[in-house]
């Protein structure tokens, strides 16, 4: 899992470097979570992305698409060379997730707050048919400004959607600055717990901790689970970590050097 996280990060940085700009921060903060989900947690078949028995992932913070694209490519959903086409004219890898364009993307997202409702709808449909598939959703802490998130929380608890696990990527920075300065989120874990979720907070860059939290959540019956990920926006690239304006970055020459160094370091660790 740790190596897979490194591989994802290498592909992710390389694809953004090729483009010269992108949503680096929020992509880097969910790498470990994606690495865990796609290392045996999710029931998937990369050769058959629309397999009905699969588990679903809705990346509600759709701007982190590049992190998921890297993961999907490494899992063999599509050729890894496609990663070099991020945001090209006519590409199948747009800045925000698109279920029609990209194999392995379960839901189109990008307008914040909407993906979580779609995830809840998928989970509800699975319950109605008495099936065993699970649904995972990743929302951002900035995204939790959106009222629709709380509508979805109420609905999922009321309907006992214990086949749903929601991750909150608490990287503490939104586009305009620190979340505490824009709209103070207070204690996200306590908030979501108050809605009736089984809730836990873990180090979002510790694969083992994430895996344990998922395994525990799977055993909880009757209520959905939420795993609050304590993360660092821009994790893995020194100089970007916790940079206040790292939501969407157009890389300077210095930053290019930093990112190339980060890739070199990760590659060295892998070899």
């Amino acid at each position: 899992m740790k190596n897979f996280s490194k591989q994802i990060r290498i592909e992710l940085i390389n694809m953004l470097l090729k483009r010269g700009f992108g949503h680096l921060g929020g992509s880097m903060s969910i790498v470990e979570t994606l690495s865990v989900l796609y290392s045996g947690v999710m029931k998937i078949d990369p050769s058959n992305p629309s397999w009905e028995e699969r588990d679903y992932l809705v990346l509600s913070k759709g701007h982190a698409g590049p992190a998921l694209y890297s993961t999907l490519a490494l899992k063999g959903y599509f050729d890894i060379s496609l990663l070099q086409t991020l945001n090209d004219n006519g590409t199948s890898l747009p800045s925000h997730c698109d279920r029609i364009l990209t194999p392995g993307i379960d839901m189109t997202t990008g307008s914040l707050g909407q993906g979580i409702s779609a995830a809840v709808g998928i989970a509800m449909g699975i319950k109605i048919e008495d099936k065993q598939n699970r649904v995972y959703a990743i929302i951002g802490d900035g995204e939790m400004n959106e009222g629709q998130c709380y509508e979805a929380f109420q609905f999922s608890v009321h309907n006992h959607l214990d086949n749903l696990i929601v991750f909150v990527d608490e990287n503490k920075i939104q586009l305009d600055g620190f979340t505490k300065d824009i709209i103070n989120p207070l204690d996200l874990e306590a908030k979501i717990k108050a809605f009736g979720f089984n809730t836990v907070r873990v180090d979002g860059h510790d694969e083992e901790a994430i895996l344990n939290a998922i395994n525990n959540a799977k055993n909880v019956k009757g209520v959905p689970s939420c795993i609050v990920l304590d993360t660092i926006k821009g994790k893995g690239a020194e100089g970007f970590e916790n940079l206040v304006s790292n939501h969407h970055v157009r890389f300077s020459n210095d930053q290019n050097v930093i990112l190339h160094k980060a890739v070199a370091k990760l590659e060295e660790e892998l070899s």
Partner: protein, 318 residues
């Protein structure tokens, strides 16, 4: 399409809300992949009977329209066919971005029933009175936008949208409407219906304005003016070829809608006839908000009457 047009419209005792509840039950009876969604308004549209009969196929989402559309998108992803009802403003304005992205852009399926078309919202007043719902949904690429003309049509269209992919918006009034078509008529989405032929002017109308248009036709006939009346229940995609035929035949087209003249039927007809030489005049709500009142009073206030259509015809017919 196999439409039998009644020569005289009848005062139908059937409420469209009963048609919705009964037809939905019929549909779910045969297809367990159909799910009905409500946002705490099942009492208003009588779908509590559907919930009782098919609890597994019915979700009351509470007063959370944005989430309801998202839930519908998730259900659609799992191969279900969702039908969602709420009042028109809440089914469109309130959750417009959700309809646009989670359904339209994501290429998923949802049948939206928006109730109490325009002034039919009567005593619920301006907050509940949609004069812009058709305009909004029309702006979503590939969406199908319809307004029901009577109970017979509503039942048939509810069955048709079961297998029509994408976002389909069906505007209704919950109460009874004049019946224009014989029972068991079937309709073709995207095709207008010539209710009456005429040679001097063509009145193109939808919903409650069809009854007004037919009355206007009678008044005009007494003055020697021959008016055709077209039921354009599909506002998008609009029946361009029928409009062009009548634009060539009558030179004057008058549209009549229970909706703002900006963005609704009148606009759609103007767009369809942009290269035609026919003159198009719009009767409808002139960029105003709603208010409380009886339907009759509000039709007077906003100029949604047979007389308003007659005036528009006479002022514009050379």
């Amino acid at each position: 399409m196999s439409v039998t047009i009644l020569q005289e419209q009848i005062n139908s005792p059937v409420e469209l809300r009963s048609v919705y509840a009964n037809t939905l039950s019929d549909i779910i009876e045969k297809n367990k992949k159909v799910i009905a969604l409500e946002a705490d308004l099942m009492g208003a549209i009588k779908t509590d009977s559907v919930q009782k009969k098919f609890p597994n196929n019915f979700i009351n989402c509470g007063i959370m329209e944005a989430n309801m559309v998202g839930v519908a998108s998730g259900l659609s992803l799992r191969g279900f066919t969702p039908y969602m009802h709420t009042f028109g403003p809440f089914a469109t304005r309130r959750c417009f971005d959700q309809l646009f992205l989670s359904i339209g852009y994501a290429k998923l399926d949802l049948n939206v029933i928006g109730s109490d078309a325009g002034v039919c919202a009567a005593h619920n007043g301006g907050t509940h009175m949609p004069f812009e719902d058709l305009s909004l949904v029309r702006a979503i690429p590939t969406a199908v936008v319809m307004e029901m003309s009577d109970a017979v049509m509503f039942e048939n269209i509810l069955h048709q949208v079961e297998s029509l992919h994408g976002l389909n918006y069906i505007r209704i009034t919950r109460k009874n409407m004049a019946q224009l078509y014989e029972e068991n008529s079937t309709f073709e989405i995207g095709k207008g219906i010539v209710l009456r032929e005429g040679t001097d002017v063509t009145i193109v109308a939808t919903g409650i304005m069809l009854n007004e248009a037919l009355q206007a036709r009678d008044i005009l006939a007494k003055e020697g003016i021959s008016a055709a009346v077209i039921d354009m229940f599909t506002i998008k995609p609009i029946d361009e070829s029928l409009l062009k035929d009548f634009a060539a035949k009558t030179k004057l087209i008058v549209t009549a809608e229970n909706h703002n003249i900006i963005g609704g039927l009148g606009s759609a007809v103007l767009e369809a006839l942009e290269t035609s030489r026919a003159k198009v005049v719009r009767v409808g709500v002139r960029d105003r908000f709603g208010q409380v009142g009886t339907q009759e009073y509000l039709q007077e206030v906003y100029g949604l009457t047979a007389q308003a259509i007659v005036t528009a015809v006479k002022e514009n017919l050379n």
